[in-house]
Symmetry: C2
Subunit: 359 residues, 2 copies
DNA sequence: CGGGTCTGTGGAAACGATTTCATGAACCGC
DNA sequence: GCGGTTCATGAAATCGTTTCCACAGACCCG
């Protein structure tokens, strides 16, 4: 194999010093346009490619960041969108993203973050984005790396310990409140929240539901849902449980689109039509939301913006050489589709359990 | 932040030269045991960590390889096992694995292999393992990187172009043959293969089925299966098609465990019992195989060995500094569980469509 | 016109390891 | 005892960048 061209040979060919070549590549604005032209021609002619290893040794940032994605079953579609948004922004500002999956072990101890740790220890990444993986043990491990990082998702923000670094999150509580308000505005009064509130995101979303109910002088009903890891199943089970118990309700606020999907399936089993007999709203504006039958009214999480914002903040932190403390809350948006409508004149269980009561 | 310790400070502390410290770390066998001890103590005392960037610049291999995994829906469980096997072997010989997912676009052009390309261009990886991604465009791209690589899966091996570099594969044809022979030995004669033979792995497996049938002086039946990307669905559809067509068969050779899973579901829909009325064998010994109801007789792919072998070969190639040409074929193994038994005295469709013919 | 600031530039010093090469000591066999 | 081999070692060269610093020339302003 031919020995690769070095910066020195380019400098010699262009009749300049190595420093100038380096500047042409990294700080072109401080070098004479004519010189730039000459150097660039030499680079082209010789087919020079900067040696990344050498650049790395001589005080460079690596230009790479690690995007740590949870492989947790929750909301993968949204995480994918976040990743996409991050990738685009990274492309824009010229940094590279290395992905890593961390296995999600909420209960058992340290999740697998060996890849980012390794890369960090070797000085190959400048920062880390934690997407949906901000559990105490991971955040702590990140802290020890002394590397800028940004967290997406706010599972720790409401807890006693404040999130120690920059974070991007979406106003889930507000989103859920608006979804509930939408149902209230349509005239619904008997509204049930579906979601496993032992999981922090469902808890926050339930809060929003409660806010809206109280504001309308209604008593919030207890949340329905257990074992939320598989959201679709949880939705199914929850809806069945409601129907079996004979609770009366005209609308459901599902804690996620997947939960909504499951619930709709269960309602259909019982011969109930959405939205004619039951209205339902989801959360996330997942891919499946618009494909749902009927298309799902839901709360859109601006996932691509989340990703982009993460990259921006991280980039800023890298530029400054230290972690920043920025907290960015992105607004959510209610997307009204066809799974919600004005309530029938009577509650669903009256309709369902007692045919005589029909007017 | 405190300036990190360099090799020079360690050398000074231990009263030796930097060369000796370097040797203690990299070639301890050529340095005096007493000196080793002394240097190690200094390293310990000062908390010295070698600077990876510097090591990289000074003629080092990165000690990292890239494991390129297809995100293709096929056989993810097996790929996971391959990855696991590779990880263990890598751990053993002290090299690190960086994962990358490539999006699978068989038809549209170059799949996304930017991450390995980037890492290779930057000299951060010493080699690449392509797991289930050996499609022409990717192999070609790898070729251009001038980096050792190993391919798992043999989709190109039987084609006109020979696989250009080392490859690890399993004898799928033989596996499928043995599975079929197992059914023949039990007394089955009407055996159908399920699998989309437009996909190369199903094609190879179908070949094995044909071999066994011909050897038993039976006419191989045409394969059943289309749109094989979603194996479970394909299995379902194929079994339904067989039953609808009224074809007579007592046993199925499924091209994958997932296909078998789908087929079993469809058979159950029609009230047919496995293995009492229909025997079925799978392929892969996927996680789901032993969880299947009934536990699936299948062909075990030694996935962990595949992963380990890939790493071994790649490591050897890296050591030699060039790609090798080794082709390793690992043996498969028939795992007999409970989805196969001797056939009923009559074919299933006679049983199913014509009650009178029961003896 | 002279002193200051600003630009553009090149030589050389990092960066922190590995590797080469020379050296001296120890050991071996005749 | 002596040339020759092996072993353990350290000084210095090397890897290919970036960055520091000095310097020359252009420009500006009073």
């Amino acid at each position: 194999m031919p020995k690769p061209i070095t910066i020195r040979e380019v400098a010699a060919d262009a009749g300049v010093g190595t420093a100038t070549v380096s500047r042409v590549l990294n700080e072109p604005w401080r070098v004479n346009p004519q010189t730039i032209e000459r150097v660039k021609q030499s680079i082209q002619k010789l087919g020079y490619k900067p040696n990344f290893r050498a650049r790395l040794l001589a005080h460079g940032n690596s230009g790479m960041i690690c995007f740590l994605l949870s492989n947790r079953p929750f909301a993968h579609a949204v995480h994918g969108q976040v990743l996409q948004g991050a990738a685009e922004q990274a492309e824009l500002i010229g940094i590279q993203i290395v992905y890593a999956c961390c296995t999600y072990d909420a209960d058992t101890q340290p999740s697998d973050i060996r890849l980012p740790q390794l890369l960090a220890a070797r000085g190959l990444i400048d920062g880390v984005i934690l997407a949906g993986t901000n559990y105490a043990n991971i955040v702590e491990a990140m802290e020890q790396l002394e590397l800028p990082y940004v967290v997406f998702g706010t599972n720790l923000i409401n807890d006693d310990k404040p999130a120690p670094r920059s974070a991007v999150y979406v106003d889930e509580q507000e989103g859920s409140r608006r979804a509930t308000e939408h149902l209230l505005a349509l005239g619904h009064r008997q509204i049930v929240f579906i979601g496993d509130t032992s999981l922090p995101w469902y808890r926050r979303r339930y809060q929003g539901y409660c806010d809206a109910m109280r504001e309308a002088n209604l008593l919030p009903l207890p949340p329905v849902g257990k074992d939320g890891a598989d959201a679709v199943r949880m939705g199914e089970r929850s809806a069945r449980e409601l129907l079996c118990r004979g609770d009366e309700f005209t609308a459901l606020v599902a804690g996620s689109d997947r939960a909504a999907h499951g619930a709709i399936g269960a309602l259909r089993e019982y011969g109930l039509k959405v939205p004619e007999q039951i209205s339902i709203v989801g959360f996330d504006d997942d891919e499946i939301a618009s494909l749902e039958e009927p298309p799902l009214t839901t709360v859109r999480v601006p996932a691509d913006q989340v990703g982009a914002k993460c990259v921006q903040i991280l980039n800023e932190a890298i530029r400054l050489g230290r972690s920043t403390q920025e907290k960015v809350c992105l607004p959510v948006e209610l997307v009204v589709r066809q799974s919600t409508s004005i309530p029938k004149t009577q509650t669903i269980n009256a309709l369902y359990t007692d045919e005589r009561s029909r007017i």
